[in-house]
Amino acid sequence: MLTYIIRRIFIMIPTLIAISVISFIIIELPPGDFLTAYTAELSMSGEAIDQVELESLKKRFGLDEPLYMRYLLWAWNFLHGDFGHSFEWNKPVRDLIGERLAMSVTISTCTLLFTWLVSVPIGIYSAVRQYSWVDHFLTFIGFIGLATPNFLFALVLLWVSYAYLGMNVGGLFSPEYSEAPWDLAKVLDLLKHLWIPVVIVGTAHTAKFIRIIRGNLLDELKKPYVTTARAKGLPETRLILKYPVRVAINPLVSTIGWTLPELISGIAITAVVLNLPTTGPLLLRALMSQDMQLAGTFIMFLSALTVLGTLISDILLAWVDPRIRYEAREVK
């Protein structure tokens, strides 16, 4: 088991390096640099930036260096815990991302839990009562969530709650708590706001889980041991919950890895609309304005999270299912 984990961690390193290079290239791909984006924004509000200032800014931001130099410098500092400096916010990247990253992870985790809570019962029900009208109805509801673009859902919800409920659903905190230190009241306030993004993003993913559980459970239900148990007169509810459901839920563990990046992307767009203090809006802005080091650091962290998620789910799976451990050794 230990060798398996070590081997997996070893594989992670080149993946992360590749991601860091790609993310730098991707951010650099669009023509122009941070300053062109910056001047463009200024010109929209009628302000003109003169050539002299532009040159001095270029030097100040180190944009006169070639790309690989900028990458190496950033990567080197990154390894030493210095994530660089955001041009746009004129702040060290570290100060900008800490809390937001934590928020993103919190929301993602809550969303994942929510998704499981909703999809497991639905999945079980629709497998047991396959092709019943309730099955169809529940699946339908699940898919509606998948089919509605998150951002639109969020915007409509925002408007409805403003216009008809007189409620401010944007943000994650009420104004009085937003700068307050963490205490119980603030956590409660957070929970009051948290459900909206969780529901919006969560509904987009329940369908997938329903499908997995339903499929797996259907397979299990056809297996001989179920028939045997049923023949022995085991009550149906107990029969289903005790064995097939447990086997059917197992694969959910393996979904942590690939669900995380999807959730974070999904939340990014929703967060823009709902004004959530997560990584999403900042990342989008950083990408649009080509705020190199900020965007690069974000991507690195998000990817690292994903890689870590994959690792954890693989380890969990290997732990749950010895066959995989065996297979891993064999492949080697």
């Binding site: 062109t36 003109a48 700068e179 809006p281």
Partner: protein
């Protein structure tokens, strides 16, 4: 003679200011009042009493409607560091300022004399003004800006044009602690107006006693190194620029002293960026109450303009115009006004038109260049446009079809240019095109003289939806006279790259400078690379002929006239000269205006008072700054 005019003009303004001072100066029993939150600090001994903080003769601001009460939090919203422009507009304290009707008023400089035919400016500062940390504001601070910031090659590679059009340092002399004399080599006709613009605040945001520690010339090397290390900045010049950048220096540090009504207590870019009243603010109302009335200004960070709109509708914004403009938002704001969460105050854009067509005189393709440089072609374009349709679709019929001419409210207004060629007359347009030899083929599409089909691309920024809409209407109008036209809607930076390298056929952009024609002349002649009708001529002008392309005689003529305006002090003479530029524009129609947009709105909370009844919307006039936000006040709801 010219000097005389300048002095008389300045004297008139000063006496106007004195009239409002006169009300209480004679009253010996008068004492100053302060906000309860400051009175408490004084009691606790943390702050000197109010009359020690105020100048002996503080500047008196006459409240817009009535004297106010202290207190309140002014809630606004912003979208991040790039959006601190909004906060800058609230704290507007240059040496001289714009009056609400766009004229020059004294501010930190209480009077001035202009001599030597407009070469020398002697400015008298208000005596006894203090920075927000209690240190006195003197001529030294302004000299610090000129000698140690502007003259320092590391900090400022070259002198900005707004200081002196020829880019030369003025000679700066300290007459006494409160009097400074600036002498330019050439007459500087627009200097005072430039000082009133937002960049004029460069001179009043350089507290020498504070910034000294970041400057190589003054700081002890080991202390400077310590700061550099602590802030992780590689050079002192970077550090100094960071600490003193006008774009954000007042808002990102709690330590930065300021002369403004509110000073930063929770720096941007936090979720709630807070500015609180400046205990040393140097203005009082007519009852001797120290301003500002409002305790603090809070900007809440929002990811998107849409949520700002929602906040406004829900009554969570007390006064703001930024991010709430544009027809689409205005319509919803008007529609939701019935809930009583706010009222709307109109502000007129000082842009001459909401959007104009700038045919590229620097086109790389010689055949296209020849066509676009032909005045007949541009006039044909103008007649082909159905401006009424644009007005109806985009502005609900509330706009005004016109050329990119100075606005009616401005001193440079020309009725004939405003209405030139704006009639929708397809026949006339087609006749002009036929006359140019752009004949229609059998498919109804026109071809160039060299037989190639005549195709136009309209470059427009996709950031604003109605710009694309207008472009599409223009494209179909041009299609109707046989010009095959395509709209290219791009992101802002792609758009800019294209137009600045003069790669466009026709670019669309708002017609800035309908009021402040002299300060923002880019649509009246190729003034800079922002003049999309001829960015390369503009570059030629800006670089004094070193880069860009040499313009033809009729455009050089305009540049010469403008140069003459720059060295002219007399308003009257400036107007006469500018009229020549306008006349040339009317003849050649270098840019084609569409429709002047109806006013946008400030959203104003019902309990917010003393706000203007109407305002201008501009960059050079940083509204609502000129309306004295320090005398806005809020009553309890």
């Amino acid at each position: 003679m010219r000097a005389m005019v300048g002095v008389r003009c300045a004297a008139a303004l000063v006496s106007a200011a004195l009239i409002c001072l006169g009300g209480f100066l004679g009253d010996q029993a008068f004492c100053f009042n302060e906000a309860p939150m400051l009175a408490k600090l004084v009691k606790e001994g943390k702050l000197p009493p109010v009359d020690k903080r105020l100048p002996a003769q503080p500047v008196v601001i006459k409240p817009n409607e009535k004297p106010g009460v202290y207190g309140g939090v002014w809630r606004r919203a912003y979208t991040g560091m790039g959006d601190l422009v909004g906060a800058r507009r609230v704290v507007y304290e240059p040496l001289v300022r714009w009056s609400p009707d766009y004229k020059i008023l004294p501010n930190l400089a209480e009077k001035w004399e202009i001599s030597d035919e407009g070469r020398a400016f002697t400015l008298h500062l208000v005596k006894g003004v203090r920075w927000s940390d209690g240190e006195p504001f003197t001529v030294e601070d302004i000299i610090f800006y000129f000698d140690d910031v502007l003259a320092d090659k590391e900090l400022t590679p070259s002198i900005p044009k707004w200081i002196s059009p020829e880019g030369k340092m003025p000679k700066v002399t300290k007459v006494d602690d409160h009097t400074i004399k600036l002498e330019f080599e050439e007459p500087n006709g627009l200097f005072l107006q430039q000082l009133a613009c937002p960049h004029g605040m460069e001179l009043t945001t350089k507290p020498k006693h504070y910034l000294k520690k970041f400057h190589k010339k003054y700081a002890k090397p080991e202390e400077l190194d310590a700061i550099l290390k602590q802030k992780n900045v590689s050079s002192w010049a970077k550090l100094f620029q960071d600490e003193s950048s006008l774009r954000y220096c007042l808002f990102v540090s709690k330590e930065m002293p300021s002369l403004c009504a509110w000073v930063t207590t929770v720096p941007a870019p936090s979720k709630r960026f807070v500015m609180e009243r400046n205990p040393y603010y140097w203005k009082v109302d007519t009852n001797g109450n120290q301003l500002p009335y409002i305790d603090s200004v809070v900007h809440e960070l929002q990811a998107e303009a849409q949520t700002i709109l929602l906040k406004a509708i829900a009554g969570e914004i007390d006064m703001q115009g930024r991010h709430l403009g544009g027809m689409q938002k205005s319509v919803l704001l008007v529609a939701s006004m019935g809930q009583g969460n706010y009222r709307l105050v109109p502000k007129t854009a000082t842009a001459s038109v909401g959007l104009l067509l700038a045919p590229n005189l620097n086109h790389q393709d010689p055949a296209m260049r020849k066509i676009l440089s032909d005045a007949r072609f541009r006039i044909a374009l103008s007649h082909a446009l159905n401006r009424e349709e644009i007005n109806k679709i985009v502005y609900r019929g509330k706009g005004l079809p016109r050329q990119a001419a100075p606005l009616k409210e401005s001193e440079y207004y020309s009725a004939s240019y405003e209405k030139a060629y704006i009639t929708y007359d397809k026949a006339k347009a087609e006749a002009l095109l036929d006359d140019m030899g752009l004949k229609k083929g059998s498919d109804g599409k026109r071809a160039r003289a060299d037989g190639q089909p005549l195709r136009l691309t309209l470059d427009v920024t996709a950031a604003i939806e109605n710009w694309v809409d207008q472009a599409e209407i223009v494209a179909s109008n041009l299609g109707a006279i046989g010009i095959d036209t395509e709209v290219k809607a791009e992101t802002r930076d792609l758009f800019r790259q294209r137009i600045q390298s003069a790669a466009h056929d026709i670019a669309l952009w708002p017609g800035d400078g309908g009021m402040e024609c002299l300060l923002e002349p880019r649509w009246y002649f190729p003034f800079s690379t922002e003049s999309l009708q001829a960015p390369l001529y503009g570059k030629w002008y800006q670089t004094g002929g070193k880069q860009g392309e040499e313009p033809p005689a009729e455009i050089k003529e305009l540049m010469n006239i403008y140069n003459e305006i720059l060295v002219t002090v007399s308003d009257q003479k400036q107007k006469e000269l500018f009229a020549k530029i306008i006349a040339a524009n009317e003849k050649h129609l270098w840019v084609v205006g569409l429709v002047h947009d109806p006013p946008d709105y400030y959203v104003v909370a019902p309990n917010m008072h003393n706000v203007p009844k109407q305002d201008f919307q501009s960059w050079t006039y940083p509204n609502p700054g000129p309306a004295n936000p320090e005398q806005f006040f809020m009553t309890k709801k």
